[in-house]
């Protein structure tokens, strides 16, 4: 049973990170929360339908493989919630990972998915309650009886609607249920499921011939497996609710990820056991089967198949089952209505949906507007759609939502892992999220065989969401672009600089600034530039941006150091900004000021884990739409007479040669710049390449000499060769995304290991760069 506390404004905890709620939920409680959400209608409905489609072996496999897939996604949730342990779940992750549009879509999908799941729980409750009433004779309904003008389906729908209305009212009242009571109820549910599983195992031990029920294993073929996996995916939905407990859990960085993984592990074992028990619940050849195979007999009852099987498997099966369904469905219904209301309320609160959604009842303190809209979806879906389509629609929406979370975990680890303190970091990254994404796509596609309606409803909802965002939310959403705040933006010149080449120099502190002056001086001279000096003051999430003043001083001093040297030679303007993330702040400034070249310093030691070169430098290199020059150890005393430019025929070759030409110290020793090619078997005509690049940049060809050496290890070869030079100029490589995750590129490895001053350059390649960013 999920922990539900529908009294609002629970969401306000997002804005009050300093523990206004007491942290009292232990690992056990939050694990139970996840279990409680999962063990419910999904498995009760899913088993009967899955046996009909996939056969006896297929149903066991369905739950085992779905469990594995759920673990992959649970690891993503675990990593993200350990790093961002705040209420909000997918909505929060998408906001941080991909921005406002994605977070709107995540909230929009979560709202619908939870609402549809709520309808499914209401229907499950109704189906099993009506079935129990019929079995016990309390409700006498025969199809041939003309008095019964209503069918069983109609009664089920009426019961579902009444149940849904009851829980909508309960949510409106704001009745809360503590995690501890919820945990007890969940234990009851779990006990029931364990009992069924164990009874199944004992039955097989006593009557091993029942194992014959597994033959044929998959009578309708293996492709049905994908269909039933997609259909029952919703049975594994629930562990993500643990992410919502971030503000109330004890030691959330450790306990949230553990609870997610434990709950998925437990639930997978239980589901597999129950599916097994269901298959062996009836004996092949039993007269009651009317000549059908056991799986055919169970499958013919569809969503009620599980109930029929349990009734055969154990004494008082009907009664026990009904009790279990009542507990699990109602608690899950309560939780999903709350969850859906909360998702839509969050969108309303952030003004991405009309004010109605954020309206709080003055006495009850519940968001009744969001609740009303959620109720409308729950009731419409419960009344209009058949059970299979309802379950499929919920599954497909959760597949989409979890797909997005898996993308978020990749994006967030790549772009801002240095800002976060992870309590859990998944191994073999990004293998598991990529596997999960691929499987989710396949399952979602295959669901079309189960319910084409789901494939109409889900994309329509997403399309509607995009329209709402574009037409409504985009203009009205509360701006949280206080992510960057401009403190100072000054011009220290009066001349017109429109014809000058705009170079931005990012300074961090006085020491770093000193290292940039000399090279910047040469660059600006060669390019006839005007200089934009920028310093970004990073302010942690927990603090208001205005509080960033405390660390302004270093930046101001750094800018003064540079200005003292360069202001008399070039037009300079200075910019000082507070930001949440230095890299994003610099990239935004580059775009805004239409900078054509960015100069950065790099200390050379990466202390961060998720990036190749450095946590700040790496995203800047990747995202800035301009030429980039990263200087390592190019301090004021460095003299560059002999320069080595390793080339491999890449797109940064021209810029590397140009930089070498600019940075070379003029003096008596006019040793030409050496363009070096390492022949590792891939032939590059270095002479011709240098000719082309030099001509492209209009450089003096006589300043360059070429050299090719054969070596099996280009890194070692370049490092050895660089010992004879004062400076190494390298171009970044265009690596595939997978390679970027796997290891450093050759230039990065050299930059890390070389003890010589190094310059890394990256040329702006326009559309390709944009495409890469977009991908």
């Amino acid at each position: 049973m999920a922990r539900n506390s529908p009294t609002f404004p629970a969401d306000s905890v997002r804005h009050a990170p300093h523990g206004e709620l007491s942290r009292e939920l232990s690992l056990f409680h939050i694990t139970m929360m996840g279990l409680g959400m999962m063990i419910g209608a999904g498995v009760f409905l899913g088993i009967g339908i899955s046996i009909g489609h996939a056969g006896p072996g297929g149903v066991v496999l369905t739950f085992a493989l779905n469990g594995l897939l759920a673990v992959f996604t649970a690891m993503s949730f675990a990593e993200l919630s350990s790093a961002i342990p705040r209420a909000g779940g997918a909505y929060n992750f998408a906001r941080i990972g991909f921005g406002r549009r994605a977070s709107f879509l995540a909230g929009w999908m979560e709202w619908f998915a939870s609402s549809v799941a709520g309808a499914m729980y209401a229907l499950t409750f109704a189906i099993y309650t009506v079935r129990f009433l019929c079995k016990t004779g309390l409700l006498h309904l025969q199809p041939e009886n003309p008095i019964d003008l209503v069918t069983i389906e109609t009664i089920e729908t009426i019961v579902a609607v009444c149940t849904a209305l009851l829980f909508i009212y309960i949510n409106f009242r704001g009745a809360s249920e503590t995690g501890k009571i919820g945990a007890i109820i969940t234990m009851g549910q779990t006990l029931f499921v364990v009992t069924i599983g164990l009874v199944g195992v004992v039955t097989v031990i006593r009557e091993p011939e029942r194992l014959a029920n597994f033959t044929p294993f998959m009578p309708h073929g293996w492709s049905k497996l994908l269909m039933t996996m997609g259909f029952t995916y919703v049975a594994f939905e629930g562990y993500e609710v643990i992410a919502q407990a971030g503000d109330e859990a004890k030691d959330p960085k450790r306990n949230l990820p553990k609870a997610m993984l434990y709950s998925v592990l437990i639930v997978t074992v239980l589901y597999t056991l129950v599916a097994f028990a269901t298959v062996v619940s009836v004996k092949a050849g039993d007269a009651a089967l009317n000549g059908l195979r056991p799986d055919e007999w169970i499958g013919q009852y569809k969503e009620k198949g599980f109930g029929e099987a349990v009734a055969k498997l154990m004494p008082f099966g009907n009664f026990v089952l009904t009790l279990a369904v009542i507990f699990s469905s109602t608690s899950a219904l309560n939780a999903t209505v709350y969850s859906a209301t909360r998702a839509s309320y969050a969108l309303g609160r952030d003004r991405m949906l009309p004010k109605l959604f954020s309206t709080i009842h003055p006495h009850r303190r519940t968001p009744y507007g969001a609740l009303l809209c959620t109720a409308a979806i729950v009731l419409v879906v419960a009344v209009l759609l058949p059970t299979e389509d309802v379950a499929s629609s919920a599954s497909i929406m959760f597949l989409f939502l979890f797909f997005m979370v898996n993308l978020c975990v990749i994006k967030i680890r790549r772009s801002m892992a240095d800002e976060l303190q992870y309590g859990f970091i998944m191994p073999l990254f990004p293998l598991f999220p990529l596997l999960a994404i691929s499987c989710q796509v396949v399952l979602a596609v295959w669901l079309v065989h189960m319910s084409w309606i789901a494939w109409v409803v889900a994309p329509l909802w997403i399309a509607a969401g995009l329209i709402v965002y574009q037409k409504y939310a985009l203009a009205r959403a509360i701006t949280t672009d206080d992510e960057i705040q401009i403190i100072e933006d000054r011009r220290h010149y009066e001349e017109d600089v429109t014809d000058k080449f705009p170079i931005m120099v990012a300074v961090a502190n006085p020491a770093n600034a000193e290292g940039l002056i000399k090279s910047t001086y040469h660059l600006c001279g060669a390019k006839d530039a005007h200089v934009e000096l920028i310093h970004m003051v990073p302010v942690p999430d927990q603090m208001a941006l205005q509080d960033g003043w405390y660390s302004c001083r270093a930046g101001r001093e750094a800018m003064l150091v540079v200005m003292r040297e360069l202001a008399e030679h070039f037009p300079i303007s200075t910019t000082l900004r507070y930001c949440r993330n230095v890299a994003r702040g610099i990239v935004a400034a580059v775009r805004e000021k239409r900078i054509r070249m960015l100069v950065l310093g790099w200390h050379g030691q990466s202390t961060q884990h998720a990036f190749s070169i450095g946590s700040t430098v790496d995203p800047i290199i990747e995202q800035s739409p301009c030429d980039i020059v990263v200087l390592k150890d190019c301090g004021p005393d460095a003299v560059f007479r002999k320069i080595l430019v390793p080339l491999a025929g890449g797109p940064n070759g021209a810029l590397a040669l140009e930089m070498a030409s600019i940075l070379r110290e003029e003096g008596a020793d006019q040793t030409p710049i050496t363009a070096l090619n390492i022949d590792t078997g891939r032939h590059v005509d270095i002479e011709r390449f240098v000719d082309e690049q030099v001509a492209k940049k209009g450089l003096d060809r006589r300043r360059f000499t070429t050299r090719t050496i054969e070596a099996s290890d280009p890194i070692e070869a370049i490092l050895t060769e660089s010992e004879n030079f004062d400076l190494v100029v390298l171009g970044t490589t265009q690596k595939s995304i997978l390679k970027q995750f796997a290891r450093r590129s050759i230039p990065e490895e050299i930059a890390h290991r070389s003890n010589k001053p190094t310059v890394i350059v990256k040329a702006n390649v326009g559309m390709r760069s944009w495409l890469k960013r977009w991908i």
Partner: protein, 54 residues
């Protein structure tokens, strides 16, 4: 497909899934404990190791 082979593959997949889930959970638990009991610097080192960096 031959029935016995089908059953064998099916059972193998079930066992594989369950064993994988167990292993991944235990592995993850170990990582959580290691990161949780380390100071920040060591945690970063561990994270680096997990990312396959030297």
């Amino acid at each position: 497909m031959h029935r016995e082979i089908e059953i064998l593959i099916g059972c193998g997949l079930v066992v594989f899934s369950l064993v994988s889930i167990f292993s991944l959970t235990l592995w993850s638990r170990k990582i959580i404990e290691r990161i949780g009991t380390s100071d920040r610097q060591t945690a970063r080192h561990l994270i680096k190791q997990l990312n396959g960096k030297k």
